[in-house]
Symmetry: C2
Subunit: 205 residues, 2 copies
Amino acid sequence: MTSALPDGPPPAARGTRAGSDNARRLVLVATEAFSERGYHATTTRDIAAAAGMSPAALYVHFPSKVALLFAIARNGHEQALDLVRHAVASSTDPERRVRRIVLDFVAWHARQHRIARVVQYELHALPEPELGVVRDLRRRTEQLMRDVITEGVAAGRFQVPDVATAARAVLSLGIDVARWYTSQTRPSPDELGRQYADLVLRMLR
Amino acid sequence: MTSALPDGPPPAARGTRAGSDNARRLVLVATEAFSERGYHATTTRDIAAAAGMSPAALYVHFPSKVALLFAIARNGHEQALDLVRHAVASSTDPERRVRRIVLDFVAWHARQHRIARVVQYELHALPEPELGVVRDLRRRTEQLMRDVITEGVAAGRFQVPDVATAARAVLSLGIDVARWYTSQTRPSPDELGRQYADLVLRMLR
């Protein structure tokens, strides 16, 4: 396996490319370590060892531990934003949109609970401007959720006292799944998504 | 200020007494440090310094950093369980009970978001048997929530596809408040509690 160098990302994204096999492996191993022991308790040496690489080989891909955390956090937030975007694009009906968002958002947080834990609970370790990039992704996800609820209210399908609070509650339900879900948890990610989608729709109607 | 020794707690609770002023100050300072930087990134030396004490004076009250974390986690979980118990005792009507639980549980997680963050997100650092003590408190809180919903279903006031999932969703909404709530957040803890109680009751009916 060759250890390919990232091909010249812009300065703001330095060390955040996870294109090669080795870089992807480092991201996987770091996600597991950060989610189990926390970011601060994990050293780059631990991560390199778990990936079967030398610390020097790690630094070829990620110049720092923060760069690894940023790669995980940005990628996780991009995945969450993408699935909400796709859910919105899947229908023009407000209830179908909300059902799809909750189904996919909840199932993702259950299935990817390790990534989601790092993404949600280790953010405080990110410096600026990296934290700003992640905050912007969060804002866009929240805005999409608010827009969908606002349209449902305008169409007379939803009735909520406060759109911002309702949007926050819906996303919050999904995000918190990552805290308690494990690979032994029942119901399955998809079934949990369906049950939560039912609860959320009752909450908004 | 004298540094009073804890008066002989049982072995299982060693170092978890926070009775004296100094011990309470250490708990406050440790809560702030753990919630801001995470448990692993904080040293007992940091905590002692922030409390204006020597490391030796800290060890008089807490024999280890884990003992401090356990004191915070146990106390926080006891507070959460107590407020749910009081809410249940406040009425025999299922809807009033749920409203009171959500109001108080959400407001507590908003107001005490620092304590709640440590309580919720730093648990993985607790060893056994301390973790078992905390798990037992959580189980009792969840059981109360399930009982209240079950009674509401039996009385024909609630209608949920799955009581365990509904109970989890209700508590989850409250717990996740600690992740995003700050002292600058609006609405106020009590107003957020009211809004969430409305949403939850719609979810259960």
